[in-house]
Homo-oligomer: 313 residues x 3
């Protein structure tokens, strides 16, 4: 049984196949409806979206990926029912029960780091991790890498500037590890205020993989060297209420606007996992380097390929 | 690409065709299941319900309209995720992203006037406005007009008494403009307390179209002259908390009960967009003039016709 | 038109047929996908889940039961929209409207005892009660009985120990009445603190049916005599906030752990309607007598059979 729990579970050959398949899906939508053929081996299979945190975009991305493959989709965004009256152990019980209803795959999002692994340990069907707390968000990492491939033409040797919330940004953690593990010779410039620096865990991983990286507080110094710029939102909802204002003020100092855009090379690509706040100005949306909406769309193609991978026999 | 954004976008010939098609759908349900034929050109098309405000009836009306046409339906009622931590611009970003997942149509409901037009401006697929704040609710206007047609036999020359919340009632705005634009010689009597009078905008529109209307505070004076009585709920949720009690008290004075029913002509028709509060008493439900439940059902037939109209090639 | 409103509406011959059909469904999942045949007479029928209270497990159980039968499923967990601004009568109006959209069956869960009967009185399509307040939860009762059949081999003559919240536990009420009405010679030992004793209504019913029962506060005295042990959660959400702590403390004294398990006969079966709190320790999950996860799964098979029963022509 194949689960998708963390981005590092994939190796390069597997990624090459996945992105190839995602590309076929992308191309199929360019064809007239009657000429699309997606090899409906997933016809009438059932995908259950089990979300303890709402996330419209990610959830709909999986749902539409499933529907385009002929699957049926059932959803809950209220998995946290009775939260005030049922305590502890409910994740495992919930997965045991729902997986026993014979769905074909369960996609979960949960507030707690490690939730996806705990789910997989008791599930009768494959689990896909759609984000567990500040932990992993592997399908985001994969779609990010796929976007680098499609925007830049290949995956190896890029200088990647990553900015914003490097503490709580699980998308960052997944992408960094994926690049370090599966791509040749990446290097990183991490841009953040001191309080939002990359966690030691991920840095230790990079050192072990002998990946070059530097940390800076200056956006303006980092951007001119970038092949890829990956910017993120401060995950305010993961900080105590009392500290949010301080983090919001910080975020405003680390924003990408037209001035910052000018500092980027003409063939750089600007990515963001969305949703965004003020850290990427709508002024830059029209620039050809602004890839975040294409990136979001790529997510659906990658998830189509991942659903097929999980369910192939 | 066809959007449905406001009721005035339709002209009479288009309405005649739509209501004819809606009528065919209505009749198809009277047939045994195996004899129903709805020309399944929408088979497997995908409808996404993107609701920033919950609205069970409207949402299910679109969903079942879609399902009866063979479509697949995916929904969110939590489009406002992260409302406390993501600010500004999220409507446009959300529509850009969701419409890039290749649904066939997006139905949106939003708290903000003008949201549907903003959505249409950035969407890759057709947008249907299922209510944007105190703005428009065009499919409600269309189903109201269709109900007048089916209850009264034709559309022209009716005296329409409209009562209740004429300030925030978007259903009223949509219906009044639609009658003024597409029907011959309508006239209106608007019944409300002074604080809930029809907005100047809509009145100006009526004057421009040379449509006769009067305003009164007296339900009892208005009803005897009515061909159609359209009653509405005070939209308490659109007023500040502190003022709600006052509006509730007002609403109680403008209620339709058995006494008011007696004042209506025997061939009048009593409509209400639902949900209702105390402004229409359940006592009148059994009367043949009480058309609000038929009206709600007509909504689904009209939405079937509208989905076909939006997606026909 | 067939509704499912309360467990007592069924008689033994009907149950025998239902459980036989549920068993066929269970077996069908053991076969390879291409050899499953479920006699798709429900293909493309529409099930609407109308939930005024969220309940992930029950709702998904119905949804997947429907999907496995080829049905389409549409859901709302927000049926209580506008709760602060629309008052009274909304249940009936909602059912009138939604049932007029031509779904094939509506599954409702509601906070109020008697809601399902009120819904059935105005609905144009069959209603299935998925729990109405402290009232009934008939499909839970049926799946519980089916689990006793499948775990113990037959239905008659069992000594059933029922513990926990016997006041607000609607699952208990449904199961007790069902055993008393449809099975030969059942007997009960009810275990609870004095404040959570079985309601007089249900006890009167047992006396009328000449069913033997005793009440005790001692778990340890009751367990050695059990053929079936049915344990329940204190329904904290149905008690005033101020009393919850007291009930939680009580619940902790009436818990099943490894010590209690040792007191049960080796061929006893331990059931629980889930979700659970601390009243059944995860320590006992691995024991062969712990049947609650099988019980939850059986629920989906039973609901498949019930959907067929409701919609057969």
């Amino acid at each position: 049984m194949r689960h998708i729990l963390k981005s590092q579970q994939f190796d390069r050959p597997c990624l090459d196949k996945l992105f190839q398949r995602a590309s076929e899906h992308r191309k199929s939508f360019a064809k007239p409806r009657q000429h699309r053929s997606r090899g409906y081996f997933l016809q009438d299979r059932i995908l259950v979206n089990l979300f303890w945190e709402p996330s419209t975009r990610t959830r709909l991305s999986f749902a539409l990926a499933g529907l385009h493959l002929g699957m049926k989709v059932e959803t809950t965004e209220n998995a946290e029912e009775f939260s005030s009256t049922v305590k502890g152990g409910s994740l495992e019980d919930e997965i045991r029960v729902v997986s026993s209803y014979h769905p074909d795959v369960i996609v979960i999002r949960h507030k707690t780091e490690g939730a996806a692994e705990r789910a997989a340990a008791v599930s009768q069907v494959p689990i896909i991790n759609a984000g567990d707390g500040a932990g992993e968000h592997p399908t985001q990492g994969l779609l990010d890498l796929c976007t680098i491939l499609w925007e830049k033409g290949y995956l190896d040797g890029w200088r990647v500037v990553i900015g914003g919330d490097l503490v709580k940004g699980r998308a960052v953690h997944s992408l960094v590890r994926l690049l370090a593990k599966c791509c040749e010779n990446p290097s990183f410039i991490f841009v953040s205020p001191p309080s939002l620096r990359l966690n030691e865990d991920t840095k230790a991983y990079l050192r072990k993989q002998r990946v070059h990286f530097i940390e800076t507080e200056s956006t303006r110094e980092a951007l001119p060297a970038a092949d890829v710029v990956y910017w993120t939102r401060v995950q305010l909802e993961r900080y105590p209420e009392g500290e949010r204002q301080r983090y919001e003020d910080l975020a405003r100092q680390y924003a990408i606007g037209l001035e910052e855009l000018e500092l980027m090379p003409g063939d750089a690509v600007l990515m963001h996992p969305l949703p965004r706040n003020e850290e990427v100005s709508p002024d830059v949306d029209a620039d050809h380097r602004a890839a975040y909406f294409r990136q979001a769309q790529n997510g659906m193609y990658v998830r189509m390929a991942l659903l097929e991978w999980v369910l192939e026999e």
